[in-house]
Subunit: 318 residues, 2 copies
Amino acid sequence: MASGPGFSDEKNDTLCESESTVYVHNPHLDGMKDDFLYHFNLGTSTHNLPAMFGDVKFVCVGGSPWRMKSFIEYIAGELSLEDPKAEYPNICAGTDRYAMYKIGPVLSVSHGIGIPSIAIMLHELIKLLYHARCTDVTIIRIGTSGGLGLEPGTVVVTKQSVDATFLPRLEQVILGNTVVRSTDLHQGLAEELLQCSKDLGQFETVIGNTMCTMDFYEGQARLDGAFCSYTEKDKQDYLTKAYESGVRNIEMESSVFAAMCQLSGLKGAVVCATLLDRQKGDQLSSSHEVLHSYQQRPQILVGHLIKKMLQASASSKS
Amino acid sequence: MASGPGFSDEKNDTLCESESTVYVHNPHLDGMKDDFLYHFNLGTSTHNLPAMFGDVKFVCVGGSPWRMKSFIEYIAGELSLEDPKAEYPNICAGTDRYAMYKIGPVLSVSHGIGIPSIAIMLHELIKLLYHARCTDVTIIRIGTSGGLGLEPGTVVVTKQSVDATFLPRLEQVILGNTVVRSTDLHQGLAEELLQCSKDLGQFETVIGNTMCTMDFYEGQARLDGAFCSYTEKDKQDYLTKAYESGVRNIEMESSVFAAMCQLSGLKGAVVCATLLDRQKGDQLSSSHEVLHSYQQRPQILVGHLIKKMLQASASSKS
C-alpha cells in the first residue's frame, strides 16, 4: 500500500521497506522507564503490546461502546475470521472510560462524546500503536451526525473538518497559548470510501465538509436545549451559511481526529451517517429501527473498504 | 432551606412558598408537543417524569458510570433508605451514552470526559428536572483531578473554575459567535462542604480554584502524551504560574458545569480528589488500592453533606 503525501517518513521508509510507521512526536517518551496508558488500563510494563497489537492495520473508532462491539462482530463475519456468534472480550475491561475489541488486523475502540474525550483516547491509541511497532495503519471514525440538505440516512465522508465559523482548523491551548492545527483528512482514502459506496449500491454517500462543534445544543443552533437565546430564523440563517460554505454534516469529534491523524502520520477518514436534516428539525422523529439501520451504514461501508484493501494487499504479495 | 443570592426567582418564590425552581431559559420549549431527551433515552411522551423524578433534591454527577453506580449504593446505605446490597437499575439502560441511578431524593448520573460530554448531559438533566417540576435542587460533581502543591489524596472544593490562562470564564460558541460565561460556584455550598470535611476528620480538604482544560495531555502540560513540543522547565513554569494564580487542581468539566449551574439556578459544587501532585509527575504511581481510596473521598464528603442537609430540612419541618 503506497503512503499518500505527508504520510511517510524518509528514515523509516528506508528501514522498513516503504512501510509507514505510526509516529509519536515526543522526545520525553524514550526516557520513560515504562508507559502506562491510564484510560485504557494497558501499559508497557504490564502488557506485551507488540504481541497483542503488532498486526493491527485498521482502527475503527466511534462514540458508543455498544456500537464498537457490534462493529467487531460485524467485521469478524465479513472477513470470515471467526464464528460471528463468538464473544469478543473488551481489552480495556479494567476501566469504564473506553472499550476496545480486536479481530485479526482490525481494532475497534470507543471514544465517548466530544473533542476532549476522543483526544485522550487518540493520544493513548497512537502511543499504543507506536509501542506495538505497528506499520501502515488506517484509522476511520464511524459515527452519527446531523445532516444539512441531505436525505436522512445519507452517509457523509469528510473532506475537511471545519469549526463553528466554517474554517478548517482546530484551536488548541498548550501552556496557555493557542496553537492552530490543520484539519484536512486523507483525500485518497475519502475517494476510496466513495467508490466503495458505489460498489455496494445500498445507500447514498457524499464527500463534504463536516462542522465539528463543542456543544450539541447551543453549539449546533438547536432550539431544544435547556438554554436558547436565538430565534428559528437565526438558526436557519446560520445553517444556510454553513451549507453554502460546503458543510454537509455536524458532529463533535472530527477536528481533533483529523489534526491528530496529520500529526501522527495515520491515514484517517471520518464516515458519519446523518440521522436527520437539521434544516427541518432538531429532534429525531424516525423510528428506532430506521435510526438503527442508518447507524449501520458507516459500518457496512468501512467493512467493505477493509475487505477490499486486505484483498488488494494479499494479491500484491502473491 | 433558604436560597442563596442569585438562586431564587421572584415569581416562583411567591408561587411555591420560597422553593427555588430549576429553570430552563428557552422560549421554544413550551411550544414543543413533546421533548425527547435523546442521550438519556427518556421523554415527556414516553415517561412520567414528575412521578419518576419529582422528589429529587440532590444530583451527583461524575465521569465514570461505575463510580456513579457505586455512589448510589453508598448513599443508599448512608441514608438507610434500602438494603445496600440491593441492585439499582440504570434508568438510562436504553442507551450507553450516560448511566443514571436514583435512590430517594438522590440522583446519580455519569457524564463522560470533557466539556462537550458533560454539557450534553447537563442540558438534558436540566430539562428533566424542569419537566419533573423539581424544586430546591443541589448538584455536585464528584471527580478526580491532578493536584498542584497538595499531598495526593487531598480533596479540592472548587471556588472558581478557571481556563488555561487562569481566567474564571467559559468561552462558548453560539451561531459562530463567542459568548463568555461566568464560572463562579456557590460559595455557601463550598463552605458547607469544607465544614463537612472538618466534621469527618478523615482527610484533608481545601477550597481553591480549579483549572478546566480541553485536553488531558498537551492541555495540562503533561510530558507523556503522543505529542509534546515543550520542555520539563516549560511545564514547571506553567504549573507554577497556575499555582500562584490560586489553582489547586486540574480537571476537564468544571467550567461548563459552573456556567450551566449559574444559568439554570442550580446550587452547584465541584468536589475532586487529587490523584497525584502534577509538579512531581504526570503518570499515576500509587497502587490501585490507594487510588481507589482517594476516589472514595468525594463520595464520603458529599454523602455526609446530603445526610446533614436532609436532617436539617426534616428538623426545620418538625
